[in-house]
């Protein structure tokens, strides 16, 4: 079970136990509800933009450790990013988890790298990407559900 530390690194366990920006926003500019129908994970992402920059971002809901930690780390990574930067980071993160080819270096993943161990657990990739898909939907100010299916 010790080899599970590659997946469940300390940083991930810490974000799971103490998720950052884990709160509801009353009047967000953007909001979306994310749902993984297979495992029941539910995430709401709230987003405030100021001059095209992510001024505030938060989430609530429930999910597994991978899902919760990914959502928490996502909020830290996205704060202060422009919409274009945020979208590029989403693309890069998604690429790192789903593609065999190395992700492009021009959008460094930084701390998000610890989540790339999920790639070895294909059924769990959706857990790590749920918050990001939800953010993407919120960014586009799409109302309604988004699914990672």
């Amino acid at each position: 079970m010790e080899n599970m530390r590659d997946l469940y690194q300390e940083v991930i366990l810490d974000h799971n136990k103490n998720p950052r920006n884990f709160r509801k926003m009353e009047t967000p500019d953007g909001f979306a509800h994310g749902n993984n129908p297979l495992c029941g994970d539910q995430i709401d992402v709230y987003l405030n933009l100021k001059d095209g920059v992510v001024d505030d971002i938060s989430f609530d809901g429930h999910g597994c450790a991978i899902c919760t930690a990914s959502a928490s780390m996502m909020t830290l990574a996205l704060k202060g990013k422009t919409e274009a930067e945020a979208h590029a980071l989403f693309e890069s993160f998604h690429h790192a988890l789903t593609e065999d080819a190395p992700y492009p270096d021009d959008v460094p993943l930084g701390k998000l790298k610890v989540l790339t161990g999920v790639k070895e657990y294909p059924v769990r990739v959706k857990c790590a990407t749920l918050a990001w898909h939800t953010f993407d939907a919120a960014l586009k100010k799409l109302q309604g559900e988004i699914s990672t299916e």
Partner: protein, 410 residues
């Protein structure tokens, strides 16, 4: 418990080749039997031999192979009849599984009968496959789906069951053993209550069939549905038992070959039971595999298997209860075959991944029973389910793996 003392689990395990497999370098501890059970060599060989030396289509061929295949297929039906103690073989309809069996009853029995305002009565602990077919038929007919509530222990509220049966109720469809909670429902009592008001009863036996000896005549249910792959047989084969009188009165479920006596463009005469409900080339190898599985179970003795599994259930329940932060979901007095649980600090999906690293295969999620999850206010559970080949030592491996998981996450 004498059966348990004589029960030779080592020799049973030797019959199941997959149990020798290593997962992540650890011996496989297969505790996902409620999803699907593994197969003894007797079943694997029956299917293999059929394909190697006995294969042909059935019923229509005059050549030797076709006659042999037909005999093997019908022998499997006879094995099922004997196993469930049906009055006659033509009350045993082969389907693709429990799901198709229930859909068949919904569309062929219920749909022609239902009128606006009629009611179908199910319970809160049903698998989606005993909910959705009724929702579909209710949409088609204007009938209403009524649901019997369950208690905090995970038992049916029998008083409410009685209250919900009335002159509008056209069918009761109830699960024998809950796949999410392990509850064994008092189906005999339910059948008696329903019949007292002239209401027929379908029993979803998907989870019960490998654990509880069945006598459909004694139970007096009108329909009983189960799948081959939960009782050590192949996937894609299942059974609908139905009382002859009811099956005879029902229109066919699907049209095609084999379910007809004669076809012309002026009209078609349907075949007799059970062929009326077996349109198209059936899962011949699956039926033969199921027959072999039933023979295997009968050789060990379902009573002895049930006693062994009851011992496993009691041991697992007491061992898991000793783990701090673990809560068992479903604590009915009568349970069979499985323990559903949640941990305070670890989500079920993380439990599943962590246990897998120890070679322990369990199921995590909503178990296709989302209303049960909502009733117990959990998004998902972890579920360890037992089969005839599981051992007390494997329960220890499970407990230890759960403790390690908690250790890592807390």
């Amino acid at each position: 418990m004498n059966n348990t003392a004589q029960y030779d689990v080592v020799s049973i395990r030797n019959d199941f080749p997959i149990l020798g497999k290593k997962i992540h370098g650890k011996p496989l501890v297969y505790l996902d039997n409620a999803a699907s059970s593994q197969h003894p060599v007797q079943v694997i060989n029956a299917v293999k031999e059929f394909y190697e030396s006995g294969y042909s289509n059935i019923h229509r061929g005059v050549h030797q192979l076709s006659q042999d295949a037909t005999r093997a297929y019908e022998n499997a039906r006879a094995s099922v009849r004997g196993f469930i103690k049906a009055d006659c073989v033509h009350e045993v309809v082969f389907t693709s599984g429990t799901t198709e069996s229930i859909n068949l009853v919904a569309q062929s029995y219920a749909r022609p009968l239902l009128k606006i305002g009629d009611e179908i009565l199910i319970t809160h602990m049903e698998h989606h496959s005993n909910i959705v077919p009724w929702q579909i038929v209710c949409e088609q007919t204007g009938a209403v789906l009524k649901v019997v509530p369950i208690s905090d222990a995970g038992e049916l509220e029998m008083d409410r069951f009685a209250e919900l049966m009335n002159e509008r109720t056209k069918l009761v469809s109830v699960v024998h053993v809950s796949n999410a909670l392990g509850t064994v429902n008092p189906v005999k009592k339910i059948v008696n209550m329903a019949h007292a008001q002239g209401i027929p009863v379908l029993v979803d036996g998907a989870q019960a069939i490998p654990h509880i000896p069945l006598d459909v005549q004694e139970l007096d249910c009108d329909f009983y549905a189960f799948s081959g792959h939960k009782i050590y047989g192949p996937t894609g084969i299942g059974v609908l038992y139905g009382k002859e009188k009811l099956l005879n009165a029902m229109p066919p479920y699907q049209g095609g070959g084999d379910m007809i006596l004669s076809v012309s463009f002026e009209g078609t005469t349907y075949n007799a039971l059970p062929y009326k409900f077996e349109a198209g080339t059936p899962n011949i190898a699956g039926a033969i595999g199921l027959g072999a599985a039933i023979e295997y179970v009968q050789k060990i003795g379902l009573g002895a298997i049930a006693a062994h599994e009851h011992g496993l259930l009691e041991y697992a329940t007491s061992e898991l209860k000793r783990i701090d932060g673990l809560r068992i979901i479903g604590e009915a007095e009568q349970k069979a075959g499985l323990v559903s649980f949640v941990l305070d600090c670890v989500h079920p999906h993380d439990i599943g991944t962590m246990l897998d690293a120890e070679g322990v295969a369990i199921r995590t999620g909503h178990h296709c029973a989302q209303p049960v999850m909502e009733r117990f206010k959990v998004p998902a559970t972890a579920r360890a389910s037992f089969g005839m080949y599981n051992t007390f030592g494997e329960i220890d491996v499970l407990s230890e793996a759960i403790r390690k998981t908690i250790g890592m996450f807390s």
